[in-house]
């Protein structure tokens, strides 16, 4: 099976829904609570704690890191819970979303409008994914605990292209 390599600098329009891929580069973890704050900040005209233009967001909240570990187990969470917030962030320049499960028609429209992509990791493969993370730094909302925003660096995170920039979608 051919494995497409994706980085923060990749031309996303080359990706095709259904392709097996690996992502190496920077992504920010954010779940529902962080998304709510992102959108509240945007509504209030305040800056977001991450540079959203061109960013990759990984929908995940890890277990705590044990002594000597970079991060705990860190698989994807259900993307649908971010569907109410995602179109707003896509319109602000978000380019890559990584999660698991289906997306809403509104998100798919926003993906097409902004030439972004939705990639899926394997739900429940948290120990395997942990082994592909080389850096982790908490950068915002520490009061949210596991839902805090972290800047993480992946080395070959296994993924599938679920929705490509043209809106083709493999998840029914």
């Amino acid at each position: 099976m051919n494995v497409r390599q994706i980085t923060n600098d990749s031309d996303l329009t080359e990706l095709v829904a259904g392709e097996v891929a690996e992502f190496s580069g920077v992504a920010y973890t954010a779940r529902d609570a962080a998304h709510k704050r992102f959108v509240e900040a945007a509504d209030a005209g305040r800056p977001l704690p991450i540079d959203i233009a061109g960013a990759a967001i990984y929908y995940a909240g890890p277990t705590p890191a044990r002594k000597g570990e970079i991060i705990g187990s860190c698989g994807p969470t259900t993307s649908a819970r971010m569907d109410d917030y995602a179109p707003r962030l896509l319109d602000m320049g978000l380019k890559i979303m990584i999660g698991k499960g289906k997306r809403s028609p509104a998100v798919i429209d926003a993906i097409k409008r902004n030439k972004a992509v939705y990639l899926i990791a394997v739900g429940g493969a948290a120990a395997l994914i942990k082994s592909r993370i080389t850096e982790c730094e908490e950068i915002a909302y520490p009061d949210l605990g596991c839902e805090a925003v972290r800047r993480i660096v992946f080395d070959r995170l296994p993924l599938l292209v679920a929705i490509d920039t043209a809106g083709n979608n493999i998840l029914k």
């Binding site: 698991k100 499960g101 739900g123 429940g124 082994s131 493999i170």
Partner: protein
Amino acid sequence: MYRCELIADRLASAVDSALKKIDTRVVDMLCAARREETDERAAWALDQIIENARIAENGNCYPCQDTGVAMLFVRIGTDAQTDGDLTAALTEGVRRGYREARKSIADPLTRLNTGDNTPPVIYYDVTGGNGLEVTFLAKGAGSENMGGVRMLTPSKGRKGIIDAVVGIVRDAGANPCPPILLGVGVGGTMDKACLLSKLALIRECGRPSADPDVALLESEILESVNALGIGAQGLGGNHTALACAVETFPTHIGMLPVAVTIQCHSVRHAHIDFAEDNA
């Protein structure tokens, strides 16, 4: 006399171990599914799920970051005595068992995290004798969010039950991390059917009901669900569900409640018989 301190200690230890290991019967089912799988993308997902289970077991780490809400199913005899507050002891056991795990419990309205993964959801079943047994189930949100209950009319019958389960699984699609396991509760009242669906899940994974008619229903549901073609992670193939367990209870002449609890492939549970300690 059961000592609360020992109950908390032993529960904490069982919870900590259970959270770091997928039920070996489920791993065997996943391996069997992988051998049969012909869909390339589903095989890609199953390979990772199986490798993940191996990494977690070898590394003594959590196979899934969602270490769940702690559910405790308690069977206590009317003659059993404790030296303190049993609910408090069980809660303390959960608190300690989750010390290294993710703290996933929040107030439903303020969304403030309780910080220690308590309170657990506890169901007490009072029996005869002086025994005390607890079954722990870690229930993740991704699969729990996709469950459902349908209040059917009796005329819908057996086919209606199967259709209701299939409908719930179809709507869940890729979200609950398939391959899944299904716990189905049929009968009782709305709430009783929901509890039965959980009790079905804590039966030994893959073991059919002792009632041949219910066992047949289990296999009919499993076959219908796997005909949906959702497959591992929603990527296609024949392995949407690995097993289906049904528990029944008599219901009202005017009712046919059907509840479905979906369990993801990361099945983490433990059973503790405290009577062994009660020397």
